[in-house]
């Protein structure tokens, strides 16, 4: 019992163990829910639900929301679930803390929360837009598509990292100058 508790309260696990757990969870999602464990569909559903509350008629006839129906279902609930799960994990390890600026960012770009949030918001918009353009994210394509040996998913995952590495190096090694 004590060993189990210690296992749950330790700050981090081996990345191989956490990854293997995610692999098992992905199989459970295919088995019990007949779907890949993806995250980005939730943001379409959320935007559709917000759209519906402002202009129900317009939202109802938009093609994308006819394909991905804005409702509180599996694909939407996974996001609050992730928030709760990560919260439980940091609570158990006593590491919860509110912060605007991550340390790696601060080293290159200073402690201003405004600059960090403006760049993060630009990134979030591109991420949401790109995820829907590509039809999935790091979990949907990167893990769950690759699991299925999907050619499209493996190409997409390679492009996530190719684009990500290029822009991160530009941001931190050229603009940030460190």
């Amino acid at each position: 019992m004590f060993i189990v508790l210690e296992f749950l309260t330790v700050a981090t696990w081996s990345p191989y163990l956490a990854g293997a757990g995610i692999g098992v969870l992905s199989c459970l999602a295919f088995l019990l829910s007949d779907r890949p464990l993806g995250c980005s569909t939730a943001f379409v559903k959320a935007s559709g639900l917000i759209g519906k509350s402002f202009n129900a008629k317009k939202t109802a006839v938009m093609d994308y929301y006819r394909e991905i129906i804005p409702q509180a279902d599996w694909a939407l609930m996974v996001i609050p679930g992730i928030m709760i799960g990560a919260f439980i994990s940091v609570l158990l390890s006593g590491q919860f803390h509110l912060a605007w600026v991550p340390s790696l960012w601060e080293q290159s770009f200073g402690p201003s929360p405004l600059l960090r949030v403006v760049v993060a918001l630009a990134g979030g918009i591109l991420l949401g837009f790109g995820a829907r353009w590509a039809g999935g994210c790091t979990s949907g394509h990167g893990i769950n598509g690759s699991i299925q040996l999907s050619l499209a998913s493996m190409v997409t995952a390679a492009c996530f990292f190719a684009g990500g590495i290029a822009v991160a190096l530009l941001l931190f090694r050229v603009i940030g100058g460190a």
């Binding site: 829910s33 949401g128 995820a131 299925q148 990292f161």
Partner: protein, 186 residues
């Protein structure tokens, strides 16, 4: 209760989505994936934790999925891709990935750990981004999304090789890659 009754029970699926999300968030956090420094470190090629977690998940999941599929418990969800969809979309995603320092799932996890940039920039930004995509989708669907379709749905089809041959080769390559990372202390 059969698999079919579980899968078609809407309420049960809502609960399952939440529960699987909770497990996913817990594992992401324990794996260090909700930390901006770890993810940006991966994109700067100074920290390889993201690849370690992802490859471990794929190594386990690929074997598990195809065994389940062989016995008829799961079905393939892979769709045909295209350069216009997967390469262009993937690169846009990559740019956002580097600027935000989280991906969609890890941004949600980071919010749970108290990262306010992940909430205001990530969650709100992604809802805006997905909403913008919904606006332009009818124009993109008929044009750029269909450019350059891929010749096959799965890698075994592309290579004209037996599924299990490809699977074993992939597993060996992924495990080998992780061993190389460990060998060089990355």
């Amino acid at each position: 209760m059969t698999l079919e009754t579980i899968r078609t029970n809407y309420r049960l699926q809502v609960v399952l989505g939440l529960l699987m999300g909770i497990c996913f968030g817990f594992l992401l956090q324990k794996g260090g994936m909700t930390d901006y420094n770890v993810i940006e470190g991966q994109l700067l090629l100074t920290n390889f934790s993201v690849l370690k977690v992802m490859l471990s998940a794929v190594i386990v999941g690929m074997a598990g999925f195809h065994l389940l599929k062989h016995f008829g418990y799961v079905r393939l969800h892979a769709a045909e891709g295209a350069w216009g969809t997967n390469v262009v979309g993937g690169l846009i995603f990559g740019a956002g990935f580097a600027l935000l320092g989280y991906c969609p799932g890890t941004a949600a996890g980071a919010v749970g750990t108290g990262a306010l940039d992940a909430l205001v920039g990530g969650i709100i930004g992604m809802v805006i981004g997905a909403g913008l995509f919904a606006e332009v989708y009818p124009k993109l669907r008929a044009t750029v999304l269909r450019r350059g379709p891929f010749p096959a749905v799965t890698v075994p089809e592309l290579l004209h090789l037996n599924l299990w041959t490809v699977l074993v080769l992939m597993e060996v390559c992924m495990i080998g890659f992780l061993l190389v990372l460990e060998y060089f202390g990355l």
